[in-house]
Symmetry: C2
Subunit: 202 residues, 2 copies
């Protein structure tokens, strides 16, 4: 910085852009925002997507409760305010990844239209693909992989979406996957059919 | 999910690891944590690093006030608690990027040893490279690119590091760059000399 004045080194004034990173990675970046009840299959589908895309040499980042709630959002609870702040931060993290050329695979219940709209506004409409992982409360409760529905019924968890808190189904998701009707493979394939043409950066 | 029981699809139970992403990107991932006074040259050096590494086809993500304070941390101020929370979230974001194989270039004053130690613990010692961008208060105040020192002297900004809040210099940074003595190019080169051997993923 010796003798550095204004505009002496203008090249350093400009950061690399999303398009530069996309060119490096040979892909387009965006967020696949999966919304649906606990147990509907969001993370299972995301893991399948990530593995398939990795094999095709695309770079993705899966974001879900397992790496968000124990990390950046470990100081948030499940009050209304905290659930909104949870989604806000997730959307901001997604934006950082997108601007780095990375495709994010987001798995969050995100039960209200307001939350998803906020995420969409932060991330940007063009970079936001809403995927509705649809399965009824009865179906998810039957699966109850994590035992959360049983706890919610027993009153041990309050404000549990589908039991004592509402889930507002998306009305115009880009893709809807009914996991009570489709196999895991078919569910993954349905999402891939939609996103693969958007990834290819020609 | 039809008929899905425990361990029916074990392949989906495992997420891709840091090493899988590093293999895809042909690089090792870690955080280059640049600490130093406002105006010491952190962001200028990071921009140079990012541009050089991009030309070498390495994927980096620069994190600084410009994309953090207006985004994920837009609800934080400059109180002691908020400054710690600021650094905590930045470290958690860095960890997400590292686990995705991406090298992060972090430009934050991060004035106390406690803050940097917290960041190091979150990110992991093996993934944390501390770089001290060293320039005296007098030198930084002379540059005063953003006019912040003048405001701090006028009392318009409180708790400004170097003026009315302390900066605890690192005692064992991996690299130290004195930007009052070195040119921008030489400063960038000094950091590159240290990190390039660590990036190459053979």
């Amino acid at each position: 910085m010796k003798n550095a004045g204004n505009n002496v080194f203008p090249i350093f004034d400009e950061l690399l852009q999303k398009t530069d990173k996309e060119e490096l990675l040979k892909q387009k970046s965006f967020t696949v925002w999966m919304t649906g009840l606990s147990g509907s299959g969001k993370s299972t589908i995301a893991k399948g997507l990530e593995r398939y895309l990795h094999e095709q040499r695309f770079l993705t980042k899966m974001l879900d409760g397992d790496n968000i709630r124990v990390g950046i959002n470990n100081n948030l609870g499940f009050s209304e305010d905290d659930r909104i702040e949870n989604i806000r931060r997730i959307a901001e993290v997604s934006k950082l990844f997108i601007n780095c050329g990375v495709i994010t695979l987001n798995c969050f219940v995100s039960p209200t239209r307001e939350m998803r709209q906020m995420a969409k506004e932060i991330i940007g409409t063009d970079n936001f693909i809403e995927v509705f992982i649809n399965a009824s409360v009865a179906e998810c409760e039957k699966r109850d992989v994590k035992g959360l529905y049983a706890k919610a019924r027993a009153g041990e968890i309050k404000n549990f979406t589908g039991i004592d808190a509402p889930f507002e189904a998306p009305t115009n998701a880009a893709v809807e996957v009914n996991t009570a009707e489709l196999s895991i493979d078919a569910s993954i394939q349905k999402v891939l059919n939609y996103i693969i043409p958007k990834i290819e950066n020609n």
